[in-house]
Subunit: 466 residues, 2 copies
């Protein structure tokens, strides 16, 4: 491995230059006008994987963005890693808040700023470079690897479940490795063993056929914006922060005292966290610490609101319609379908008959939680310690990677979540960035990871599937 | 007067052709790119007034759009009418909903369709033609008239109060006549004796320095959109519809039983009204009829909301900021300044400390109500009966014309509001129109109005000011 690590150290600057090319492609999957860019990013990913030495590299069409596949399966008897990531990125609005253009990567203070730097092109590229280093120096990999990189993660991976179900044999593996989450904190590498699920809705209220003059007609009919306020207000207790949808908490797995005790030991600086967010105060469900609320408790959030006149100045309009995007983050063992039904029933119950209500289900994803004492997690822990010079902590994450549940359910394969972003990486906000030190350590840790997982099997210390 | 009326009847078609020219000028005061059109409309107005035979016609610059002035003051000892109107028009968005282009007037089924047809060019032009007919046939007017036509009514008449205060002597009159409101219904001419006032605000809430990922951080901090819902929800009772700002109703002049009884006699078809609005049901403050709620009760409305992600699809953002435009319509004797203070104090009280609150006052205007038993109103009633063949009903209006209070307070002059639009004239919407039968009857009624007001003075049956 020393030669592999030396290679990685020598090529550090080249990696950054190549990554800048990758980050220059505006592969925004949410915006139809970027469809060609999305396809271009798929091809770039495929070319990079092929150049690294992977075989059978293909860009495969789906009803949405293509997926990229490539494998190296020349280690018979060794386990197979399925590496999952995504090459699509979030939109860049509001563009005026970016210090440098989102698709012209800029390095400042050891961090590379660009849309997709952390989420997830940078972390995909990290694994590609670890494979390249192995193949360049050793001529082979210590185990089998499949790359499976999608282009619709930022729009809910809408076609991924069907693709996985239709390609079970092609995607068969012993473990899935995903680098699409932040580490616990700067200088504190981590392995994530839990994710929240998601149920996302759009609600439309219509009060009248068209916008009205708020003077001539104000007082005659219900105001859909005010109705929205009364509906949303009933979703969550404004004092205690708990969600008020009946049945919402029925399937929530309680936090164990052991887990709470572990988390209390984590080096979490609540004051710095609050200041980093620029929040007057931290706030949420009573009875739980901030980490507990974000990692292990479900939430109800409003993600967007639009109605009436929103330009400069004053327009005396009584809006005909109001729209809200709302979502719930779910924890084990809540089911997105069941929670969606409870939500929809409650909205229909509390919305008055003075408006027409439309509820649209947008996205859903199951929560996920691993037993963090499994052999792959332990192998990843050793690899990270070698890459970062420090043993990782074990954390959960508030976000969702729905495909993790899909891999578990469809392929019967556990996942190891090893991310090298930072909590302040602005993944879905202006000035997204990735720390290049973490990126570099991540390439080394990935290279070790392949060895460690191969070693696990060799020493036979676990009950591997297959 | 018979010769004057004959003249008006003979020239009916010419009036429509001239009006089309006026309506072809896109004098949208809200849009800076139409500044030259606004000025052109001012000049067109001045030229039309001069051609009608008015004297001292001037286009007078202000810090905003110019005002147009012209007078005929050759009836010493007779009262003076100040005729107020505006030549600017609303924007035309959404343009795709117009059946014919907004600035190419089109006559269909006896109605002329164009932006400004009813609000207010058509009604201004009606008075110009009544003056012309008098001067053509009688060579003189039976009383003194001043035309005072502004170009910023659709942007809140921002420079009008200062102009009136600076030109009190020039604008001195016995009565102000304004034709800028709809009649009660098709076939039912009316005189409006009350207007609501306005207090308009923008509220901004900031929860964090920038937008956050609703997964990674949802549960850690307050969601400004949810906070908005809890704040707005407290402004109005969702069951009874009454405003809950403490002190809000303290100065509201109660509706007299006599007034309520009069309004119950009006030919108001509530089912047709509801269907025209396309509303599932009519809704508002309990204990008041629809007309009472719109004409005589104050309201709290949300005019616009914007926060977070509002595009197609789903974005899991936890917004940093949320913005609302809200306004209250006020009735006698509420004061916009005092109500604004009560509102602001209440918002500051109910908004939690987990967000930063900014409250911005945008517009204000006092409510107005006339004694409808005054001599000018009665004179106008007789003139309308002659023009329309039917005695007018007396109504109030839910909208605001702040300058009416200004005339009352600065000049000490009462106003008569005699409008010939219809409630479905689409004044601020696509396909604005004016019924040409009402326009024609309006020219005749205006011609009679000058005689009737002159006659009032001659018979000395009232205590005129001045």
């Amino acid at each position: 491995m020393n030669e592999v690590v030396d290679f990685i150290n020598v090529h550090r600057d080249r990696y950054v230059e190549e990554l800048k090319e990758y980050l220059a492609i505006p592969s925004i999957s949410a915006l139809p006008q970027h469809a060609a860019d999305v396809r271009r990013a798929a091809q770039w990913t495929a070319d990079a994987i092929a150049r690294a030495g992977m075989q059978n590299v293909r860009v495969i069409d789906t009803p949405g963005s293509p997926v990229v596949y490539g494998d190296w399966l020349n280690a018979p008897g060794k386990p197979t890693i399925l590496f999952y990531g995504h090459y699509d990125v979030q939109p860049v609005d509001p563009i005026n808040l970016w210090t440098t253009p989102p698709f012209e990567a800029s390095v400042r203070d050891g961090e590379i700023y660009a849309r997709g730097a952390a989420d997830d092109k940078g972390q995909v590229f990290m694994h590609i470079k670890a494979v390249e280093a192995h193949l360049q120096k050793a001529g082979r990999l210590p185990l089998n690897i499949k790359f499976f990189i999608e282009g619709e993660e930022e729009v809910g991976s809408v076609h991924l479940d069907a693709f996985v179900r239709a390609h079970k044999a092609d995607l068969a593996a012993d473990v899935v490795v995903i680098s699409d989450s932040p580490m616990f904190d700067r200088g504190i590498p981590s392995i994530c063993y839990g994710l929240r699920g998601l149920a996302y809705f759009q609600i439309d209220l219509r009060g009248t056929a068209s916008d009205l003059h708020s003077g001539s007609l104000g007082g005659a009919v219900a105001n859909p914006e005010f109705i929205f306020a009364t509906v949303l207000e009933q979703m969550k207790d404004k004092v205690n922060g708990n969600v008020r949808i009946p049945g919402f908490y029925d399937d929530v797995r309680p936090l164990s005292e052991a887990e709470r005790a572990e988390w209390r030991k984590l080096p979490f600086n609540e004051t710095r966290y609050r200041k980093d967010l620029g929040a007057p105060k931290l706030w949420g469900e009573k009875g739980y610490s901030t980490l507990e609320r974000v990692w292990a408790r479900p939430t109800f959030e409003v993600n967007g609101l639009l109605s009436g006149f929103t330009g400069e100045g004053a327009k005396t309009v009584l809006p005909a319609v109001a729209m809200a995007k709302v979502s719930m983050r779910l924890v084990p063992d809540q089911d997105p379908k069941k929670i969606g039904d409870l939500f929809e029933a409650f909205v229909r119950k509390v919305a008055p008959r003075s408006v027409e209500l439309t509820v649209t289900r947008m996205q859903g994803g199951k929560p996920w939680m691993a037993d963090f004492d499994n052999v792959y997690v332990r192998a990843a822990g050793r690899a990270i310690e070698k890459g970062f010079g420090k043993a990782p902590v074990f954390n959960r994450e508030g976000g969702s990677i729905p495909v993790v549940s899909t891999f578990q359910e469809e392929l019967g394969v556990p996942s190891v979540l090893f991310g090298v972003g930072l909590p302040d990486e602005n993944a879905h906000a202006p000035n997204e960035k990735l720390d290049l030190g973490n990126f570099h350590n991540g390439v080394i840790a990935s290279a070790y990871l392949y060895d460690e997982i191969a070693a696990v099997t060799r020493s036979g210390d676990s009950g591997l599937k297959a």
